[in-house]
């Protein structure tokens, strides 16, 4: 594909001590300072701390929805570490490679075909840093000097970004790093004869803010008025707790690290019982442990928000890598008929939206809400439109707390009063005359335990009635592409980026296709799917889960056959996100079948 000069993808691979991630962050901040849209993705080995790490930075003067399929620029501090990432770091034909001159890795073992090695510069990153800064630790900064000069990346902004990064430390550390940066630039001017064609072109604009998905989730929670967070560290969700543990106490909130996920979820349920807006965040293994507690919140009709930043499974699985295989667990993952709402963010900005939405729904409907994020969203940085957050698309200016009884209702208080929409006013400890017993055991309207089958039938119905109202209140489907397209794509969560870009590319090339990406997954809002299917002949389900849970789930609600729609499943196991190219090729493949 022809090079697009205002869009560039850079990959950096090395070991833990090479400063790979720091370099990526500094670069992203510099690009954002200059008003560029960015997308940054980190990737680690399973050991999380130490070991190999890589980062990928995409910058563009146009909005970007993915990390970009292939690298325009590859920086390798150590080829040995690159080997671990070769399946996720695909290279453009015109790729420019920069590696450390001192790396003794045998060239014949480098797993890159010769035609992609034509633009290969061996640069003494280590030496440049040692000479200029007195320490090889600054080699990542020397590298930034080299690439910024060689490819016309932001320069002044890079200096600003370095000052910000090291500004809190000793003054000489900032100096040392600026020296390393300059050494990198000078090296290009003096010692490199540019033989490649990669050159970034852009006009600097107003700075943009950048957030990680997990930060956006935490920020959304604080915005929604969270008051209590109990959790247990687990990759890839822990950053949510990190952020809240800094900010929540300032607003009189509580963040407590519990001994395990069983304790975390029960503390959250206890806090909600005490009237607080309460949440936790975890990943698959933690959700498995929390399942009983989530069911308790459903039974006791207490609002809680549970974030699942999905990772590859089953069991310990792929702690640092992404997958979408927890869908069925989120929807059905407790014993008994236990209603809960499941919503899925599709990018970083949406992490904010979904978390705010989760609190809104939880508090209004008094039930657990699960937010299904994943490692791909949680661990990436994206440009955010701050005005969009300030305006709040959905108009939830205020996330109201659950409704409380009137004084008259308190005269003969029925905590679990059967109402038309299933929502009954709730009290909490401290409120006079509002005493009741919450319970995991089936109970009557007053809260007293009961095994009476008619009570169970009535209360089960009451708890599920809330779904009717939720379905009436919301319709959040997102459509991309023309309505009259005969080919459709149904995807959810983090696959949105690749689907969205592939759909845009296909339509630009005259291949009509439309995608739908639901945000609320459960309860199932059927109408938008019916609208979507009116003109469709063939639909592709895209998901990152081997067993195709999403496809099975959809087919439980939508009678595709009645619409005369043929369905195709396109899925892969987790680890590496879908590329735009993959989805595009699939679109073309299915599109061509229409005439067959």
């Amino acid at each position: 594909m022809a090079r697009n000069n205002n869009n560039i993808v850079i990959g950096i691979a090395g070991s833990g001590g090479d400063g790979v991630i720091s370099a990526g962050e500094i670069l992203v901040n510099a690009a954002s300072s200059d008003g560029l849209f960015v997308f940054m993705l980190k990737s680690y080995g399973a050991q999380i701390r130490g070991g190999e790490s890589s980062v990928r930075v995409r910058m563009s003067s146009e909005p970007v929805a993915t990390q970009g399929d292939k690298l325009d620029i590859l920086v390798v501090f150590s080829w040995k570490d690159f080997l671990k990432f070769q399946s996720e770091m695909l290279l453009e034909d015109h790729v420019v490679i920069l590696s450390d001159l001192e790396d003794s890795f045998p060239e014949e073992n480098i797993p890159i075909p010769a035609d992609k090695l034509k633009n290969w510069y061996k640069v003494p990153f280590n030496q440049l840093a040692t000479d200029a800064a007195g320490t090889s630790l600054a080699k990542n900064i020397a590298m930034l000097g080299v690439i910024s000069e060689l490819f016309n990346l932001p320069k002044t902004a890079l200096e600003k970004s370095i000052k910000k990064k090291f500004g809190g430390k000793r003054k000489d550390i900032v100096e040392m790093n600026l020296n390393a940066l300059k050494a990198g630039r000078d090296y290009v001017k003096k010692d490199i004869e540019k033989k490649d064609s990669v050159l970034f072109e852009y006009t600097p604009g107003e700075p943009r803010i950048v957030m990680e998905g997990n930060e956006a989730t935490a920020f959304g929670a604080l915005y929604a008025g969270v008051e209590f967070y109990a959790g247990y560290p687990i990759t890839p969700s822990t950053e949510i707790m990190h952020w809240l543990s800094v900010y929540l106490p300032r607003y009189n909130g509580v963040v407590i690290q519990m001994e395990d996920e069983l304790a975390s979820i029960n503390a959250v349920v206890g806090a909600s019982f005490a009237g607080r807006k309460a949440m936790t965040a975890t990943s698959g293994p933690g959700i498995s442990l929390m399942s009983e507690g989530i069911g308790l919140a459903g039974m006791a009709e207490l609002p809680i928000v549970v974030i699942n930043v999905q990772r590859g499974g089953p069991s310990t699985g792929l702690p640092t890598k992404t997958e979408q295989a927890d869908l069925m667990q989120a929807i059905w993952g407790s014993h008994g008929d236990a209603p809960r709402v499941v919503i899925a963010p599709s990018d970083v900005e949406d992490c904010f939206d979904c978390t705010v939405l989760a609190f809104y729904i939880a508090e209004k409907y008094q039930l657990p809400v699960i937010v299904l994020s994943d490692a791909f969203i949680g661990h990436r940085k994206e440009s955010i439109n701050p005005n969009r957050i300030r305006d709040l698309k959905y108009g939830f200016k205020k996330i109201n707390r659950r409704i409380t009884p009137t004084e008259k209702e308190l005269e003969d208080y029925h905590r679990f009063k059967v109402t038309k929409n299933g929502i009954s006013p709730v009290t909490w400890p401290g409120m006079e005359n509002g005493m009741y017993q919450a319970a995991g055991i089936e109970h009557d309207e007053k809260g007293f335990p009961s095994s009476d089958v008619s009570v169970h039938a009535g209360m089960t119905k009451k708890r599920w009635e809330k779904f009717r109202e939720i379905k009436r209140e919301f319709s959040f489907e997102r459509f991309y592409g023309p309505d009259d397209a005969e080919l459709g794509i149904i995807a959810w969560g983090s696959t949105k980026g690749a689907v969205k870009e592939a759909v845009a590319r296909a339509n630009a090339n005259g291949i009509k296709v439309q995608a739908i990406i639901p945000q609320i997954l459960y309860p199932f809002l059927i109408q938008p799917f019916h609208d979507f299917l009116v003109n469709k002949k063939r639909v592709i389900f895209v998901e990152m889960a081997y067993a195709g849970a999403f496809r099975r789930y959809l087919r439980g609600f939508v009678r595709f056959g009645d619409f005369g729609v043929e369905t195709v499943s396109y899925r892969q196991t987790g680890g590496i996100p879908f590329t735009v190219g993959q989805i595009y090729d699939k679109i073309v493949e299915e599109y061509e079948k229409k005439d067959a």
């Binding site: 992203v28 901040n29 954002s32 300072s33 902004a157 910000k164 700075p207 943009r208 803010i209 950048v210 957030m211 930060e215 920020f219 604080l222 915005y223 209590f228 109990a230 800094v246 106490p249 300032r250 607003y251 009189n252 509580v254 519990m258 001994e259 395990d260 069983l262 304790a263 029960n266 503390a267 349920v269 206890g270 806090a271 909600s272 019982f273 005490a274 009237g275 607080r276 309460a278 507690g293 955010i384 701050p386 957050i389 300030r390 009290t427 909490w428 400890p429 401290g430 409120m431 006079e432 005359n433 509002g434 005493m435 009741y436 017993q437 919450a438 319970a439 995991g440 007293f448 335990p449």
Partner: protein
């Protein structure tokens, strides 16, 4: 003294206990309600939290905010309530199975954090609700429905375990001894910090009527000069195989979690408390 505002009837709920005749838990319920009368805790300013088991039904019998949660999770549930509203008196109750088997992993953490709750364990050395299986405090050799050839496991000594976990208040009482039980439960509720009360609460249905008799024969008050702040002495009392000593066996004054939490909140507020949307600044490049 002014006339007491709350009497026994204010704490009694409309629900009638369904424990077996002769169950030790009746004595505990009664003692707890007497203690509440004594301390005049307003019913709406407390929460009575439990897990699963015969004894975990107790919150339903008291007119207050109650939460009958899931098996083994009474301590984190109570922790969540207390931290959310430190002005509420939080009392956790349950049995030996709920606390020392399925829920045992939570106890050291509430103890070391010194969460200001009272934890009353009604110990009957058996699983009663599921009709007679071995519990973590069932004596060695005992035949139960799951230990047909005799229980093989060394029982847990709750008092010794709690002292080792540095629970800041550790006591043992006998449900057949109401006066002492009321007194000790009252002191546990008044204690600032994590207070633990083991109540020997016999199960006539699955352990036989002689359990009452056996306990009554072995119980003794603490020695007259006893100082509960002496940890070594407390362990000696806990380890005593000849007699079961009743009373406050160990006590320690330590800062409580919610006080520390409030201080931390004050410290954190000094670091700035802007409008929440202004926090977006930190994400500027």
């Amino acid at each position: 003294m002014d006339e007491a505002k709350y009497s026994l009837k204010d704490y009694k709920s409309d629900l009638k206990p369904i424990w077996c005749p002769g169950c030790g838990d009746y004595g505990v319920l009664n003692a707890l309600m007497q203690a509440l009368v004594k301390l005049q805790i307003p019913p709406h300013k407390m929460a009575l939290v439990s897990g699963i088991g015969c004894s975990s039904r107790l919150p339903g019998y008291v007119n207050t905010y109650g939460f009958n949660g899931i098996h083994g999770r009474v301590i984190p549930l109570a922790t969540g309530v207390k931290l959310s509203n430190p002005d509420i008196k939080v009392i956790a109750v349950g049995g030996d199975g709920d606390g020392f088997s399925i829920g045992a992993g939570h106890i050291p953490h509430a103890a070391r954090k010194n969460i200001d709750i009272t934890y009353i364990v009604m110990n009957n050395n058996i699983y009663g609700l599921t009709k007679g299986q071995a519990s973590p405090t069932t004596p060695v050799g005992e035949q139960t429905k799951t230990t047909f050839y005799g229980n093989m496991d060394e029982p847990i000594n709750p008092v010794r375990m709690m002292i080792a976990y540095k629970a800041s208040f550790v006591a043992r009482v006998f449900s057949g001894d109401p006066k002492n039980t009321i007194d000790v439960i009252s002191r546990a509720i008044q204690h600032r910090g994590f207070s633990f009360v083991e109540v020997l609460s016999p199960c006539p249905t699955f352990r036989g009527m002689e359990q009452f008799k056996l306990i009554r024969e072995k119980v003794r008050p603490l020695p007259e000069d006893y100082q509960p702040t002496d940890e070594v002495r407390a362990f000696e009392i806990a380890n005593d195989n000849d007699f079961i000593r009743l009373g406050v066996i160990y006590r320690q004054d330590r800062p409580i979690y919610t006080d520390i939490m409030r201080k931390m909140q004050q410290v954190s507020e000094k670091m700035g408390k802007p409008e929440i949307l202004d926090l977006l600044k930190q994400f500027e490049p």
